[in-house]
């Protein structure tokens, strides 16, 4: 993996920049405190700016958790609706992105529980059937392997690799120690490697 392609959060003077590490995108999120205040006043332009900057992160996170395009869109949409209807009061407005990710992950987990009740995701993982027709074989295998993990494990990996949070940020997000987060990630990757090598 010569060139990781992960988003990183760069903070300077209160602003948050979402930077794609291979340089193909750099979407500045100017002054989250101001944007959040504007959203409270129902400023659609500010809200649109937030959606433009962060929607794909929410979708990535929710997709890895749920394994479903529709469920991912539903979870992201629910997060945006929550922000619009009841914007949070954050002591650190720079954590708006983390707040959105938390809300989206919660929505995705709930979707996952509903899916389990319908025996969708787990049955698919157990049967080994191809999860999504438009995936390459490797990615399809990976998705099946992810489906065998718990929801919280998928969330952990999604935060790390799909969204690009550092272990310290993940630890704060999930209430773990940074070392604990790193250890869990390492073990999960080992498990995925084993499963993928057997497929």
């Amino acid at each position: 993996m010569g060139h990781r392609r992960c988003l990183d959060v760069k903070r300077s003077k209160g602003a948050v920049h979402l930077m794609d590490m291979d340089g193909t995108a750099d979407v500045p999120l100017a002054e989250p405190a101001m944007l959040l205040a504007a959203v409270r006043e129902h400023d659609q332009a500010a809200f649109t700016q937030l959606v433009a900057a962060l929607d794909r992160d929410l979708l990535r996170l929710a997709y890895v958790i749920t394994g479903s395009h529709q469920a991912a869109e539903d979870a992201a949409q629910a997060a945006w609706e929550r922000l619009w209807q009841k914007p949070p009061t954050l002591r650190e407005p720079a954590k708006l992105r983390a707040w959105l990710l938390t809300v989206c992950a919660n929505e995705a987990r709930q979707t996952g529980r509903r899916q389990r009740r319908g025996a969708a995701l787990e049955a698919r993982a157990a049967s080994g059937s191809a999860p999504t027709a438009d995936l390459t074989a490797d990615l399809a295998d990976l998705q099946v392997a992810l489906g065998r993990l718990t929801t919280s494990d998928r969330e952990l990996l999604a935060l790390r690799f799909a969204v690009g949070l550092a272990s310290a940020e993940i630890a704060e997000h999930l209430g773990l120690s940074p070392e604990g987060a790193r250890t869990r990630i390492h073990r999960l990757l080992q498990r995925l490697r084993r499963e993928l090598s057997h497929d």
């Binding site: 129902h42 794909r56 979708l59 991912a72 009061t89 990757l189």
Partner: protein
């Protein structure tokens, strides 16, 4: 974000990112916003009533009844619980008394609600069924909730989505479920 992962681990991480990208199409932000606003009850004319409801005129907590849970011991055998002498179900909780309270602005949308038993209560407010829930890992010996039927109101307006059953310092345990600075939050939340 390198953090000493092996090249094999990083390769799987890269594949997770690629997989995530397949589930994350670039959506038209304006379309997303339009959908959000179209579904939002808070848009346009509904803002005024909401502002009034949040004006702080309303008391946070209205004790409207008492739940008493009579319980023999804390073994696995459940004991019956009562509201004002009316049997309300069975709980694996110690014998205790709860106040039934209204918390208009409590937000439990992200909370995990765990069914603790069935109950009937005498507050006069209508609940969705009779299930009593634990909120996340909050001590059910201090806090339980029941889901209200949407639209339940008192003289001051909507009473929110949940009836809260509280005893002891339970209100303080609920602070994470109110926004910072919420004038309707319990006084314990500062």
């Amino acid at each position: 974000m390198t953090e000493a992962l092996s090249s094999e681990d990083l390769e799987i991480g890269r594949q997770i990112r690629v997989l995530a990208d397949t589930g994350a199409p670039i959506r038209d932000a304006n379309a997303v916003v339009r959908t959000v606003i179209s579904r939002s009850p808070r848009r346009s004319l509904l803002r005024l009533p909401m502002a009034l409801a949040a004006s702080g005129v309303l008391a946070l907590v209205v004790v409207v009844g008492l739940v008493s849970i009579d319980y023999a011991d804390s073994s696995s055998s459940p004991a019956s619980a009562h509201v004002g002498g009316v049997p309300i179900g069975e709980f694996n909780l110690g014998g205790t008394t709860y106040g039934i309270s209204v918390a208009r602005s409590i937000d439990l949308r992200d909370a995990r609600l765990t069914e603790m038993g069935e109950a009937r209560q005498n507050s006069g407010f209508r609940t969705e069924g009779s299930t009593v829930y634990q909120v996340d890992d909050v001590d059910p010996g201090h806090v339980l909730v029941m889901k209200l039927i949407p639209g339940e109101r008192d003289d001051a307006g909507s009473i929110g989505e949940y009836l809260v059953l509280v005893r002891g310092n339970g209100f303080a345990l609920l602070c994470p479920y109110f926004q910072v600075g919420d004038p309707l939050a319990p006084s314990e939340c500062g």
